[in-house]
Symmetry: C2
Subunit: 448 residues, 2 copies
């Protein structure tokens, strides 16, 4: 992966500070305040950033009164500002909310409810506050259990922001790349492996493992987000991961399923991304949607992995799995069941995919439509790429959609994939509206 | 520090699974549930753990109706379940709560309010969810800015739980110790440095820096919790850190002030621990009390440190500084001001210190009383140490206090310091009750 492509994934739908001049005065003032406080870590979306007033379901309303159809955010997975989650957190924050060195009914109940959704051999949960903390801890556990340091990930992977997980997140590097003990394989696409993705991907991972061993790093784990989101969304055929996971285990490594993206029913058919592939992880790390905006993550592990950690270190996470976090998490599980959000993800996702596939038949700009449930990727063909600031059709589409009141993002090694990932609360009417506006944008941009 | 002592700090006030037999049936059942779900990561306090029903101010009520005076928890710093914090979070979770790639009035306001409490040269804030994430990020920034890898910390330091910050947390190691690029200095005690702690500590840090440079690691940062909590609470004389920080800067390193323990007014006289020493940090990392139980942390940095991070990596923290987190954080700042909690910390802390010092005159078991504001350390002399399970007087006191309805913890390299750290909401009546019960316990245990 070239440095240019890396940079473009990270910046393609970001606000560039130089664009501030063209903004309305109040928005410009807000951007200035943000830049002053956050400094170079101020990262805002879109050429004209959004000043949020309120949000509900799959809709965000800005302070200028504009309403946006949110097809981008997977944290508010059961819907922005879901009252059931807010009320559960409120009730618990008024009642009791300290750390898990004390016992609480709600924490024990939540842990058991979650574990009941996990297959054998998963036995334990260790709560954290974020998916990053979860992956950082899972890495430590995998390395302690195997006595090896080497990790295999895909070339466009993102697994979080701590020092250790940044090393296994090639998409985070703007210069250079991960250290030698991290080997990269191409994402599981037809472009890389042809029709037989299962075999091709397994061979690539096996070769990476052999390389790690030959170089003396040993093989600790294969870490994968099983919808390969940042790689560009590669979900099919379901089951293609099976031979890879068999090889991982045969080679003495662990399979860490990063469930930050696919977890909590996003694929519709399964609660967890690994389930969809008919494989079971040694460690699974959910995050973002887990608390619908309340910081919550976790490491699920099979027996025998926590012992090494606790024999060597006094690991404890103060904010991980507090009663308020458990209240948020339980409410999320309840809402997924009560509002049948997984069935909705199947139906809404199917409709959306059908509409986008139909658009693909009409507009050559749409090179491919893929995904599972409510996580879709649309590859944009570089049909009319020219020079100048507006040359990149993906960026043009994302920003034009924003101006039409629809929020989406960008993914993929070539930063050429529309990342479509609405809250699971999005319904068929929203899917139709989304497809209609995409067609308008393609037509208006002359991208036929 | 010997391995034995390390282990004892971590386990001295922990529930040992073997103790479950003596517990009441309902508590025993809860402990069993916890052990099954959490596995070896189940860490519970006290020989007989607490099953919490509710909490308010500095009081926790268990499900068996027992009330505990909480002189241990610094997360609910403005008081357990403070209604103002709960309501602020609730209001925001119902209104708008996505990540900081959008703009929100409440996030900008909170960032500015916090930055106004920080001295020159601090200019920016980067929000995280925990103190661990904050220290992990601060380490990366310090290493990038200096091009060096070496860190100096105290021998009993604790700075968090990620892979990278565990390396600079010697108190987390149950076996062995930190890597070669982390040099340890003795905590700033009279025992280690004599009367002139300022000079002695500076010389120790200078020697550690020289060692790092001689070994080729270079010197990136001196990281310190400025009340040296896990080291055993060493706060005096205020200002003793000044020569050390001057040396750190002269040697080209950065001073990272870990404000997880002293921050948000715990010392009473100052909002931040470094302020009390008349020094300014290059990076400051608050955590625990920041959101009074809502996961929230941050890295405060001087100009020029975030550039390296953002030029090399696409750092972003999804849950860091969300509107709900900002709401919690703003409410905490408001309550500290409205309820004059810093003045209370001064007064309550002074009364508590006076009462404990008087007890020290009466009971030889109390070897030393020290601390600032509402963070006190009481060294327990090993006067009657014998053999057998109950030989350790510190452990006996902590568990006997728990049975008398008072919660405290243990700190120090020798695990011989009572860690007294109530919510700032604790008042004079609670301080008197605490001292009374400690006297009863010392008397009943025959520790004169």
């Amino acid at each position: 992966m070239s440095t240019d492509r890396q940079t473009s994934i990270l910046s393609l739908n970001a606000f560039a500070p130089g664009d501030a001049e063209g903004l309305p005065d109040d928005l410009k003032a807000m951007v200035e305040r943000r830049k002053k406080s956050f400094g170079p870590s101020s990262i805002l979306f879109y050429r004209s950033p959004i000043h949020v007033a309120s949000a509900t379901g799959a809709r965000i309303t800005a302070t200028d009164g504009r309403e946006y159809l949110d097809f981008y955010n997977n944290v508010p997975s059961v819907g922005h500002c879901h009252p059931k989650v807010a009320e559960a957190v409120y009730r618990q924050m008024k009642e009791a909310n300290s750390h898990s060195r004390y016992l609480y009914d709600i924490v024990e109940t939540y842990a058991e409810r979650l574990l009941a959704t996990m297959p054998e051999p998963i036995a334990h949960v260790t709560f954290t506050c974020t998916g990053s903390e979860a992956n950082d801890l899972a890495l430590r556990m995998a390395r302690m259990a195997t006595g090896a340091h080497g990790i295999v990930v895909t070339r466009g992977a993102y697994h979080g922001n701590t020092t250790a997980v940044t090393e296994i997140s090639p998409s985070s590097y703007k210069r250079g790349g991960p250290p030698a003990f991290v080997k990269l394989v191409e994402p599981p696409s037809e472009a890389a492996y042809g029709k037989d993705i299962a075999t091709g991907f397994e061979r690539a991972v096996a070769a990476a493992v052999a390389e790690l061993k030959a170089e003396g790093h040993g093989f600790a784990a294969f870490v994968a987000d099983t919808i390969f989101s940042s790689d560009g969304v590669f979900t099919d055929p379901a089951g293609f991961l099976k031979p890879t996971i068999d090889t991982v285990h045969r080679e003495g490594g662990l399979f860490v399923a990063d469930e930050v993206q696919p977890g909590f029913g996003r694929t519709g058919t399964h609660m967890w991304g690994f389930d969809r592939h008919g494989v079971a992880p040694d460690l699974a790390t959910p995050g973002k949607p887990m608390g619908n905006g309340f910081p919550l993550g976790g490491v699920f592990s099979k027996p025998g992995l926590l012992e090494g950690l606790q024999e060597n270190f006094g690991y404890f996470n103060t904010f991980g799995g507090t009663p308020a976090a458990a209240a948020a998490g339980l409410a999320v599980l309840d809402v997924i069941a009560e509002e049948e959000l997984m069935a909705r993800a199947v139906n809404t996702g199917a409709l959306l995919k059908e509409r986008l596939t139909a658009l693909g038949g009409k507009y050559a700009t749409i090179a491919d439509v893929r995904g599972a449930g409510l996580y879709l990727g649309v590859t944009i063909a570089d049909t009319k790429a020219g020079s100048g600031a507006n040359a990149d059709p993906t960026s043009r589409i994302v920003n034009a959609m924003k101006e039409k009141g629809v929020l989406i993002g960008v993914a993929g090694l070539g930063a050429d994939v529309l990342k479509i990932r609405p809250p699971l609360a999005a319904g068929e009417a929203e899917a139709e509206a989304f497809a209609d506006r995409l067609e308008t944008v393609l037509s208006e941009l002359g991208l036929d």
